[in-house]
């Protein structure tokens, strides 16, 4: 049995932190001295968390009414096995299992955790009053960092939350947005925006090429090329033209010579939807779909986008241009939160 200092105490709630069962009893009350113990350990730089079978909002409300909710980091309140809760907490805090103390009144829960995480110290909650005096909960030093530890972790939690909000809009949320994507052939008046896109979009430009209105217009008027623009709108309004593709076509293959998207819409799946439309069109006409990619040192994202849309390397040119070929299988359907209108005359390709 290891005797490392405990970094985090993971508490059960019902009949551990408080007397009673939240879902069954009209009222629960904190066990004696619980707030003192929580605060004392917190002041020593020991973190607290929760592994409880309860409804999250309900339990958090109850903790708020006790004035204790701020003390718990990454609380795991739900219906998962407690070993899973402990795992998530340890991972989120980035601490070893041998520095975790789990306090629960139920022998079953303690055994379940112990069976999965042998290094976690599992304690019968009837002994919680002894905690402040236990050597494993008495750090040798209490520094300014220890006192601030919880706050620093909480800053991290906020950071991660902001990141997650930016990153992963949930499907239900996306559905409420009523997003509509329009893919159409660029008209002359679209070219200025297209030029701007090529200059502003660094990370999501597949070849790093920039174009002027004039060069784009030249391309547009060549009969074996098309410039496609993607526009996205939702119930708040239009995002404007957020994607550009330059397509060269031959009788046996189409070639994406340039593809770029505004990073504002990256999380909305428009790149994937655009790619699916193009892949389906190519497949229906029995032509290959190729794409150019040039590593600019900043556009790895675009390589990943291509790769995840079923492209793989076919040839590498001396000048660093890579030719990719699409396998045209497993083409994902358009997600139902995004309506797509395609105004492209593929048959003229």
């Amino acid at each position: 049995m290891s005797e490392l200092q405990i970094k985090c105490v993971v508490w059960d709630l019902d009949d551990t932190l408080w007397a009673g069962t939240l879902l069954e009893d009209p009222k629960v009350t904190l066990k004696p001295r619980v707030p003192d113990i929580i605060r004392e350990l917190d002041g020593r730089g020991i973190l607290h968390s929760i592994a409880s079978r309860n409804e999250y909002a309900h339990a958090m409300d109850q903790l708020k009414s006790f004035g204790l909710h701020e003390y718990f980091l990454y609380p795991e309140i739900g219906w998962d096995a407690k070993s899973i809760c402990i795992q998530r907490i340890a991972e989120n805090l980035n601490i070893g299992y041998d520095t975790v103390l789990f306090v629960d009144d139920q022998p079953f829960e303690r055994d379940e955790v112990a069976s999965v995480h042998g290094d976690v110290w599992c304690l019968d909650s009837s002994r919680y009053l002894d905690l402040p005096d236990h050597p494993r909960l008495k750090p040798r030093y209490v520094t300014r960092d220890s006192v601030m530890r919880r706050t620093m972790y909480q800053d991290d939690v906020r950071r991660q939350k902001d990141e997650e909000t930016f990153v992963g809009p949930q499907e239900s949320f996306l559905r409420e947005l009523n997003m509509v994507m329009e893919i159409s052939e660029a008209r002359e008046e679209d070219l200025l925006r297209a030029e701007e896109l090529t200059y502003r979009t660094n990370q999501l430009n597949a070849t790093g090429e920039t174009h002027t209105v004039e060069s784009l217009n030249d391309i547009r008027l060549r009969d074996n090329h098309k410039i496609l623009v993607c526009e996205l709108a939702d119930r708040y309004g239009s995002y404007g033209k957020i994607g550009l593709a330059l397509l060269e076509f031959g009788s046996t293959a189409w070639r994406l010579k340039l593809l770029l998207f505004s990073c504002r819409v990256m999380a909305k799946g428009v790149g994937t939807v655009f790619m699916s439309q193009l892949r389906n069109a190519a497949k229906e006409r029995g032509v290959q779909l190729m794409a150019d990619f040039r590593d600019t040192g900043r556009n790895r994202m675009m390589y990943i986008t291509y790769a995840f849309a079923g492209f793989s390397e076919k040839a590498k040119q001396d000048d660093g241009m890579v030719l990719l070929e699409n396998q045209l299988t497993d083409i994902p359907p358009c997600p139902d939160y995004l309506e797509t209108n395609v105004n492209v005359d593929w048959s003229s390709l």
Partner: protein, 82 residues
């Protein structure tokens, strides 16, 4: 590792909003919810979490189409690097 990868997918891919069940062998691309951002995050996650480097040549959709494939791929990369 399997649990970690699965956990990452569940918490970052939009489909798992609505109690959708998915198995380790299921192709995550066929459902149409993988966007570029997820792809980028997934690559970064695998590289950091398992200390591997994913070269462009490795970036084939077949290596990442399911939890099973990812586990297989990471194990292969690790052996190669080790």
């Amino acid at each position: 590792m399997r649990e970690q990868i699965r956990g990452f997918i569940e918490s970052n891919l939009n489909i798992f909003d609505s109690d959708v069940q998915f198995n380790d062998g299921d192709n995550i691309f066929r459902r149409g919810f993988v966007n570029s951002l997820f792809a980028v995050q997934l690559i970064a996650y695998l590289e950091q979490e398992f200390s591997i480097t994913i070269a462009n040549e490795d970036m084939n959709i077949n290596n990442f189409s399911s939890v099973d494939k990812m586990v297989e791929f990471v194990e292969l990369k690790r052996d190669g690097n080790g």
